[in-house]
């Protein structure tokens, strides 16, 4: 198992009260898998991802990459954030944005150059090297962020609701791009989303999370054929079944925690603000 989360718990310590964002999460992702995480809003998906990425320290439990405990951002892991506009650096051209992590890896210039070129053409942006990110549309900016992750040649790619801020058509294109890159690069992907359709369409497995304080509610195998396309896959009856099943799970998750659910969602938001 390449990526493992064991008994992970995260409690935000505010000034006056503490908020338990994640209670107890355990799951694993095999090398080469594409796994989606879905859950009701405010269930701590982003918190979980940041713990795995080494950007937050879990209160207890651990995340393991290749058997090694994550204590800071591990090499071999790249993160694509939802807020592409803030994650790309406006003071750097597209090329420099993609190249910066490679410089930190101390790769020789020629290698960097070819990695940047390959990554940008892989995401369909072969001719925007010299543009600044803010000169591009939202969808193109997120492609640049994906290219930056691809050029980094990670073993694991973490994606935090990467398409939540783009329009529906761009979103469909980007979903296909991810499937395509995953096939080509044999990278392991953990994809967090609140969109059930997206999770079923993309994943081999979908892990359904409960409301906060979060536990794994169900681990669903997506037994759809490997070749997927927006038109046929989405009208497949199995797709509809899976989608309805997960939808029901999430609705149930929301209901079960009704007494405190809105409160819990607000608490995690509050805790995020406190910590930022």
């Amino acid at each position: 198992m390449l990526l493992e989360v064991r008994g992970l718990r995260k409690v935000y310590q505010g000034k006056e009260r503490q908020v338990e964002a994640i209670r107890d999460l355990t799951f694993g992702v095999d090398a080469g898998d594409l796994v989606c995480l879905v859950g009701p809003s405010g269930c701590g998906k982003t918190t979980l991802l940041k713990c795995i990425a080494g950007l937050l320290t879990p209160t207890s439990g651990e995340a393991l990459l290749d058997g090694r405990r994550v204590s800071g951002p591990p090499p071999g892991m790249a993160v694509v954030f939802q807020e592409y506009g803030r994650s790309l650096f406006p003071w750097m051209s597209v090329r420099d944005n993609v190249e910066l992590p490679l410089r930190q890896k101390k790769l020789p210039r020629a290698t960097r150059r070819s990695l940047v070129d390959d990554a940008l053409s892989a995401v369909g942006l072969g001719d925007t090297h010299d543009a600044y990110p803010w000169q591009l549309s939202g969808g193109m900016q997120q492609r640049v962020a994906i290219a930056r992750a691809v050029a980094y040649q990670p073993d694991v790619l973490l994606m935090d609701e990467p398409f939540a801020a783009v329009d529906a058509q761009t979103r469909a294109d980007l979903e296909d791009l991810i499937r395509d890159l995953w096939h080509k690069l044999a990278v392991t992907i953990l994809f967090v989303t609140h969109d059930i359709d997206e999770a079923v369409y993309l994943g081999q497995r979908v892990i359904v999370l409960s409301s906060s304080p979060t536990v794994v509610r169900e681990d669903v195998d997506i037994d759809l054929p490997d070749a997927r396309d927006q038109l046929h896959t989405r009208s497949d009856s199995r797709f509809t079944e899976l989608r309805s099943h997960i939808y029901a799970q999430i609705q149930a998750a929301k209901r079960e925690s009704t007494p405190g659910s809105t409160d819990a969602a607000r608490d995690t938001d509050l805790a995020k603000q406190v910590l930022q």
């Binding site: 940041k50 990425a53 080494g54 950007l55 951002p73 090499p75 892991m77 790249a78 993160v79 954030f81 807020e83 803030r86 994650s87 650096f89 406006p90 003071w91 750097m92 910066l100 992590p101 930190q104 890896k105 600044y132 803010w134 000169q135 591009l136 549309s137 930056r148 980094y152 930022q276």
Partner: protein
């Protein structure tokens, strides 16, 4: 259109100064008409002493500003990035910052007499705070997502300062530099005027003492022009350095 109106206003001022002494509203001894100031200015321009004074002022200004900017940036980044340092230094900064630089004139004279260092002490003290305060604001403005991105790609502290913190703080730094450049000129002239260190300020004092009133006005006008030139230059550098920034690039049609 805006430039035309601006020039029109300036011409109006020149005309006003020309006619005021003739109307007897102010004595011509204290405010000579424009044409006499202009001819005094022409005389100054032909005098090598004037150029030496201008050079001295510019050197004091430039060295003082450079020291203040470097010190302000380094101090700002250190205070802003070392946890806890900001809280420790805040009260001291708030105490030292409002002390007017001119209050240090006796100290400057005591330490350096009428040397260049006297002027530098005042210039650096006044401009340093302008830069420091802006850098402190700039350091706070780092976007958490940008910082997390940098960390997730394994950028260390130094790389994050260079590639994330510095560009984020740069618009603030440039504002600080622009303010500091103006303040530095004020203090350079003040120091020369009061202490007598060589420069335009002491030349103004000499002109006044020897009753060369039109020359005095001509030199005052030169300091004004210098201020305008410094501000324009600073803005131009700012626009070039921040061409990627929202405030400069404007709205982009995507």
């Amino acid at each position: 259109m805006k430039a035309v109106l601006g020039l029109l206003g300036l011409a109006g001022l020149l005309v006003l100064v020309e006619v005021l002494p003739y109307l007897g509203l102010v004595p011509a001894d204290f405010l000579p008409p424009t044409h006499r100031i202009a001819s005094a200015l022409a005389g100054e321009v032909g005098d090598s002493g004037f150029w030496q004074a201008l050079w001295d002022t510019l050197v004091a200004w430039a060295i003082g500003l450079a020291i203040a900017v470097v010190a302000g940036v380094v101090a700002g980044i250190v205070i802003g990035t070392v946890p806890g340092l900001r809280a420790v230094t805040a009260s001291t900064i708030e105490f030292l910052r409002p002390i007017p630089s001119v209050a240090l004139i006796p100290l400057a004279v005591l330490m350096y007499g009428t040397e260049l260092q006297s002027t530098l002490l005042l210039v650096v003290y006044a401009s340093f705070w302008q830069v420091l305060i802006q850098v402190l604001y700039g350091v706070q403005d780092v976007d958490p997502v940008a910082d997390e991105t940098a960390r997730s790609y394994g950028l260390g502290l130094w790389a994050r300062i260079r590639y994330v913190l510095w560009p984020t703080a740069l618009p603030y730094v440039m504002t600080g530099v622009r303010l500091a450049a103006a303040v530095a000129l004020v203090l350079a002239i003040t120091a020369e005027l009061v202490i007598g260190a060589p420069g335009l300020g002491s030349r103004i004092a000499v002109a006044q003492a020897s009753n060369a009133i039109p020359d005095m006005y001509a030199l005052v006008a030169v300091t004004g022009l210098l201020g305008v030139a410094i501000n324009l230059g600073a803005r131009r550098v700012e626009r070039w350095l921040l061409r990627w920034h929202q405030s400069v690039r404007g709205e982009v049609v995507v």
